[in-house]
């Protein structure tokens, strides 16, 4: 009995330790250091702030943070150009093609500083924490594996499979099939 209980508890602990935590008010020092991205001179990419690694990468693994990102996606009208991830006037976000690379920092920079050809900068409209939440959500859009942390469907008309019901794409498109 005892080992079985222990195994069960460990399993739950692993599942529960970070993924379910919710913090409504961020420590000001952490909030500030979230903006400290070390950007490469070309401005495309860079190194994420240390604090994200230290706090356990919550913007990619925490269910609450991801769902906040989803709310921001709607609240800041990302749909206006990117639709529900399928793309419109802006590029698609779920087909595996990333103009500036698929990593979190380049997405963060795209949102914060804007990009040529129409992507506005949201530096003055969102806090760094919100931008990281949105970044995490955008990374989960084109998931190829189901994740328990990803948000589920919205109470709205469905234009795509729910983020937790991967894959949104059946496979990554090969480079020869042509991109955007």
């Amino acid at each position: 009995m005892k080992p079985w209980h222990a195994a069960f508890l460990t399993l739950l602990l692993l599942a529960g330790c970070k993924r379910e935590q919710r913090q409504y008010r961020l420590d000001p020092a952490i909030a500030e250091s979230l903006d400290r991205v070390e950007v490469l001179p070309v401005g495309i990419n860079g190194r994420p702030p240390r604090v994200i690694t230290i706090t356990g990468d919550p913007y990619r693994t925490n269910a609450y943070q991801l769902s906040q990102g989803k709310r921001l996606y709607a609240g800041f009208n990302c749909q206006g150009c990117h639709a529900d991830g399928g793309g419109g006037t802006g590029p698609a976000l779920m087909n595996g093609w990333w103009r500036y690379g698929p990593d979190a920092v380049s997405i963060f920079l795209s949102i914060r500083d804007g990009r040529p050809n129409g992507m506005p900068a949201f530096r003055d409209r969102m806090t760094p924490e919100q931008i990281w939440q949105l970044t995490g959500y955008i990374q989960s859009l084109g998931a190829t594996r189901a994740s328990g942390a990803a948000p589920s469907r919205n109470d709205a008309m469905q234009t795509r499979p729910a983020e937790n019901r991967a894959p949104a794409m059946s496979r990554l498109p090969s480079p020869y099939e042509g991109g955007p």
Binding site: L9, L12, L13, A15, G16, C17, R19, E20, Q21, R22, Y24, A63, Y64, L66, S67, A146, G148, A149, P151, S152, R153, N154, D155, A156, M157, Q158, P161, A162, N164, R165
Partner: protein, 637 residues
């Protein structure tokens, strides 16, 4: 051992008293130690275990209540943040409703129904064992999740869209929904057992009009459970599917319906209130005659009142939804039906009052609890009639007025009778009496503590204090009364603590009780305290509704049952004439193993729908082991 004793079909007629007891004790025994702990199917052991677990959950839920009172005792208190507070009130409500109130009422039924009916074990005893393990697992799932800071945070009724996929990220609500599934399974299992036991295992001569009133209450409750639970099975399964698979049962944009959740939940949730309350009324009807020294007044009226409450309970769920914007006709209908429930409830109250009026009261602790019940429950019933009217309900919906109302009916209507019942039937669980002196103190503390804690909440509600807020601002005029409520809740908590202390101490060193310490009339007092594993050496024969009073302490008995295998008497449904000798299943580990397999399947299904597919294989193996044929004759007419 002689050859005759080895004979499988040895009957009790062939044995003298002492040898008979020894043989029966051997046949019905539970092995000692851990093996016995996990394999027993003795309804008394399982029921006591159930009751202890339920009180442990009451204790945990009570700690959460005290934390909430601490937080609310002053404006802008910083003890608990909003997220934790949401989890705390959800776990408090879910624990009290699903892990304490319903299970404890059913557990008292499991303990008393076979004893009151004069049979040797409950029907389907292995299902009974399974039910306990499933219930325990469900409770652990909820509380382990809470300790890990992933407890559900959407209220005990988990309304969509808040609990749906869009607004409740993570696994919190899935854990709540699966905890519901665990308790559904446990409650349904017990209900089936009780219905069959009541219909087919009554002592010879116990016609329908001689059944003890607590048994009637358990019977009606079980039927209500069987009819009400499917609604919540459906609702919580659809919620999980919405959240995990992305179905659209509650998504209006895709043709679903958010209000559907409320209808399904309250179609179960309102009968749930009577699932808790009806056994309590049965307890009172069964205890009261003992303390006023006369048979209960209006047996038939009380039975009909219980049956009609059971029926009416399915016709008033919408009064929980008056503020959702219903058609006028619906509001009028459900107002009328909600007020109609006051009629059978009133019939019961007046029957009890008449019983007391015509009797000679003995002022012992259970009777004092019953008096506390009268005062408290009637007050709760009156506010119930108030919130049944749409205009008033619209005004006080989601305020502390409603909090006060349902604590009055649930604590006053169910917990006080339950504590009376625990005190009263304590000898049948432990063989000892609880301390009368400590008992009186706990009645006083509980009664005063409860009323001073919850009465001011009516006023707070009328002043506009909403439910489920984690704090309130300085300039709102609620501070003083909230502080008063919080202070009085300490007295209430002390009352519960004193009761628990009394129970624990009396288990070890209470005064030894005889077979019938209260001089009561029903069959459970015709056997020893605590009863032997086989309950009755010979099955008593009944010719009155109050057998011990009318026929004497040593009742006439039926004989002819086998002593070398577990056998009990099956009687006809209406007149309880002996029909068949039926074999009762023996100890088995399979219910426990099946419960573990079921737990793994249900917990897994929180994370992936495939757990239902793969998890059903171990469950099937468990059930095959459980139902493996024994190769012995099943029954003899």
């Amino acid at each position: 051992m002689t050859a005759a004793l080895k004979d499988r079909d040895l009957r009790d007629t062939a044995l003298e008293e002492k040898l008979l007891h020894a043989r029966l004790a051997h046949t019905w025994r539970t092995p000692p130690g851990l093996i016995g702990f996990f394999t027993t199917v003795d309804h008394k052991r399982i029921a006591v275990r159930y009751i202890i677990t339920a009180f442990a959950f009451l204790f945990l839920g009570g700690i959460l209540a005290m934390l909430m009172r601490w937080q609310l005792s002053r404006p802008e208190a910083g003890l608990i943040g909003p997220d934790l507070y949401n989890q705390i009130f959800t776990i408090h409500g879910s624990t009290m409703m699903f892990l304490f109130a319903v299970p404890v009422m059913e557990a008292v039924g499991v303990l008393l129904v076979p004893l009151m009916l004069g049979t040797r074990n409950i029907a389907f005893p292995r299902l009974n064992a399974f039910s306990y393990w499933i219930y325990l697992a469900g409770g652990l799932v909820l509380w382990v999740a809470f300790v890990l800071d992933m407890g559900p945070d959407v209220g005990w009724f988990a309304y969509v869209p808040l609990s749906g996929p869009q607004y409740s990220p993570g696994k919190r609500v899935d854990i709540w929904a699966q905890m519901i599934t665990f308790t559904e399974i446990a409650a349904l299992a017990i209900s089936v057992e009780i219905v069959v036991t009541v219909l087919k295992q009554r002592a010879p001569g116990m016609r329908l009009d001689r059944i003890p009133l607590f048994v009637w209450a358990s019977f009606v409750t079980s039927l209500v459970v069987i009819l009400a639970m499917p609604a919540i099975v459906l609702a919580s399964t659809m919620l999980i599917l919405d959240r995990l698979v992305g179905t659209h049962f509650y998504n209006p944009s895709e043709g679903g319906d958010a209000l559907l959740w409320q209808h399904l939940f309250w179609f179960f949730g309102h009968p749930e209130v009577y699932i808790i309350f009806l056994p309590a009324t049965g307890m009172i009807s069964s205890m009261l005659p003992t303390f006023v020294r006369r048979p209960v007044f209006g047996y038939l009226a009380l039975v009909l009142a219980m049956v009609s409450i059971g029926l009416l309970s399915f016709g008033l769920w919408v009064h929980h939804m008056f503020t959702t914007g219903l058609p006028r006709v619906g509001e009028s209908f459900f107002t009328a039906s909600s007020m109609a429930i006051a009629v059978p409830a009133g019939v019961q109250i007046f029957c009890w009052l008449a019983t007391i009026w015509l009797g000679r009261p003995v002022w012992r602790v259970p009777f004092l609890f019953i008096l506390a019940f009268f005062f408290t429950f009637v007050l709760g019933g009156l506010t119930g009639v108030m919130v049944a009217s749409v205009p008033l309900d619209t005004q006080v919906h989601d305020t502390y007025f409603v909090v006060a109302h349902f604590h009055y009916v649930l604590v006053g209507g169910a917990v006080f009778p339950l504590l009376a019942a625990i005190t009263y039937w304590f000898p049948k669980m432990t063989g000892r009496m609880m301390s009368e002196r400590l008992g009186r103190w706990s009645v006083a503390l509980l009664f005063l503590g409860f009323n001073f804690t919850f009465f001011p909440m009516h006023i707070l509600g009328l002043q506009g204090m909403p439910r489920r807020i984690y704090t309130y601002q300085m300039d709102l005029p609620w501070g003083g009364m909230n502080l008063f409520v919080s202070l009085c809740s300490i007295a209430l908590a002390l009352g519960f603590a004193l009761f628990a202390f009394n129970a624990i101490r009396s288990t070890r060193s209470g005064e030894a009780a005889g077979d019938n310490p209260w001089g009561a009339a029903t069959l459970e007092w015709a056997t020893s305290s605590p009863p032997p594993p086989y309950n009755f050496a010979r099955i008593p024969v009944v010719s009155s509704a109050n057998p011990i009073w009318d026929q004497g302490q040593s009742l006439p008995v039926a004989s002819g049952l086998s002593v070398n295998r577990r056998e009990l008497l099956v009687t006809t449904t209406a007149d309880a004439e002996p029909e068949v000798r039926e074999t009762s299943p023996g100890n088995s580990i399979w219910p426990f193993l099946s419960a573990i397999a079921t737990t793994i399947m249900l917990v897994g299904s929180i994370f992936t729908p495939w757990a239902v597919v793969w998890g059903s294989i171990p469950v099937a193996i468990g059930l095959i082991g459980w139902f493996w044929p024994r190769g012995t004759p099943e029954d003899d007419s």
